[in-house]
């Protein structure tokens, strides 16, 4: 976003990336569940330099009422970037990009949530990007899934998301902002680890069929790593140290 082209080395001869990671190494991930008192469920995630808050309300009454579905509950999702989340002030009004990401996050969560038990209600997911650093849609999804579980919304499975991409002709896991700007491809993937199903796959860039497959598999491996962190966050909140 507004970054000038630089001549940074994305991948050196030893296979080390611009931020010192190996090609199959994700950034540092930290998730905390239940951080907001007024929301029914919430989560905070730090994914590399991304800092994201997610809050879930509901199931609750739908307003405006014409949106309500008499057969099942509906899911609404808002992805929003704070003005200070990027280098240059971002206009707080929803941009084209934010509206699109809200939609894809909603569609990535929908296969997991079971709202058929809550007709005429809505579950609202609010995601605030406090600091953005590439791959924020994946991090936002991870936080949203933990917040939904924290709110007690029935879910078929957790949703874990992670990106992979192509940088300097190599498939790498979890691309950061620089790699996103300068790299050749970016593929965010959301995945339900226990059901082994993909709920989101996007691709920005050009890949050969072989690269595509490798990239998708790399991203899924990343999702599995994220899942362990999500699991830990929920266990910490609800079960503390005790294990039965």
């Amino acid at each position: 976003m507004g970054v000038k082209k630089t001549d940074i080395v994305l991948l050196d001869d030893k296979g080390i990336r611009c931020d010192g990671r190996k090609i199959d190494e994700p950034r540092r991930i930290m998730i905390k569940a239940g951080v907001l008192k007024n929301a029914n469920g919430s989560a905070y995630i730090e994914f590399g330099e991304n800092k994201i808050l997610a809050g879930v309300f509901g199931p609750r009454d739908v307003h405006p009422k014409h949106l309500a579905n008499t057969d099942r509950g509906i899911l609404r999702c808002r992805y929003h970037m704070q003005p200070f989340s990027v280098g240059e002030r971002k206009n707080p009004a929803p941009s084209r990009r934010e509206i699109e990401i809200s939609k894809v996050i909603k569609e990535a969560l929908e296969p997991a949530v079971m709202l058929e038990g809550f007709p005429r209600t809505v579950v609202d997911v609010f995601i605030e990007i406090l600091q953005a650093d590439g791959g924020s849609r994946c991090a936002a999804l991870d936080a949203a899934a933990v917040a939904l579980a924290d709110a007690g919304i029935p879910m078929r499975d957790m949703v874990s998301a992670c990106a992979a991409g192509k940088v300097a002709d190599t498939i790498v896991l979890d691309i950061n902002n620089e790699e996103d700007q300068e790299g050749q491809a970016d593929m965010p993937v959301a995945y339900m680890p226990n059901l082994d199903k993909v709920t989101l796959i996007q691709l920005d860039g050009v890949l050969t069929p072989q690269e595509y497959e490798k990239c998708a598999n790399t991203a899924i491996e990343g999702c599995k790593l994220v899942y362990e962190v999500q699991k830990k966050a929920l266990q910490e909140k609800f079960f503390g140290d005790s294990q039965e």
Partner: protein, 226 residues
């Protein structure tokens, strides 16, 4: 009952595979039985279920609940029952069968903010749950302090055969009314006892997953009274 297997689960955790009946808060995927909420899974006889540790109150027929009057129409009151649906209390339930909306003023009996002890008469999710107060021990709650706890912690507050609630009531001389929906009303003639009872209830909510909680509550109440 001794061979119940318990385990902490989060959504997506595979509880077991095999010929079990999927009961509450689980779903069947192939031959796997998967938890759908954060909670404690139980495998018993031939069924599997998860006792949730979080989530909203879902009204069930015959549940004893505490409601707060939100508003009223000419025919019924709307109650906050701590659920995603508003409880509907028909005026005929309070005024009797000769209720006449032209003559009877609903606010003369129940005003906004009043607490009532009630029972769920009907709940089928296609309509808002129907609430009744026409039974013994039901009706307006005249005095007491309202405490909101998570509905999933209600069984813990009651304890095995009411042990927890008896402990608190015995030590504080308070009268505690617990609604299945997580609303609790505490009344006590002595303000000391009231504060202690509230503190104990909040402690149960915070430490619901801790073993031997009844003893800890006993200790807490005992040490306070010294």
């Amino acid at each position: 009952m001794d061979d119940i297997k318990r385990k902490y689960v989060i959504p997506g955790d595979v509880i077991t595979t095999g010929p079990y009946r999927a009961e509450e808060n689980v779903h069947l995927f192939g031959d796997k039985i998967i938890a759908t909420t954060v909670g404690i899974s139980e495998i018993f006889d031939s069924g599997v279920r998860v006792i949730p540790l979080t989530g909203m109150y879902i009204p069930r027929i015959d549940d004893f609940i505490i409601g707060i009057v939100k508003s009223h129409t000419s025919l019924s009151w709307e109650l906050n029952i701590n659920s995603c649906y508003a409880g509907i209390l028909p005026a005929a339930d309070v005024f009797g069968r000769d209720f006449n909306p032209k003559v009877d003023d609903l606010t003369s009996r129940l005003k906004t903010g009043d607490l009532i002890a009630a029972r769920v008469a009907n709940s089928d999710r296609s309509r808002d749950p129907l609430i009744t107060i026409s039974d013994r021990d039901l009706g307006k709650i005249e005095d007491g302090e309202l405490i909101k706890i998570s509905p999933s912690k209600v069984p813990r507050l009651i304890g095995k055969r009411g042990s927890m609630i008896q402990t608190i009531e015995g030590a504080t001389k308070a009268i505690i009314t617990i609604g299945q929906n997580g609303f609790v009303v505490v009344s006590c003639e002595e303000p000391e006892g009231l504060l202690k009872a509230i503190e104990a209830i909040k402690m149960v909510e915070e430490q619901a997953h801790v073993p031997n909680l009844t003893e800890k509550i006993q200790q807490m109440l005992g040490s306070n009274s010294e």
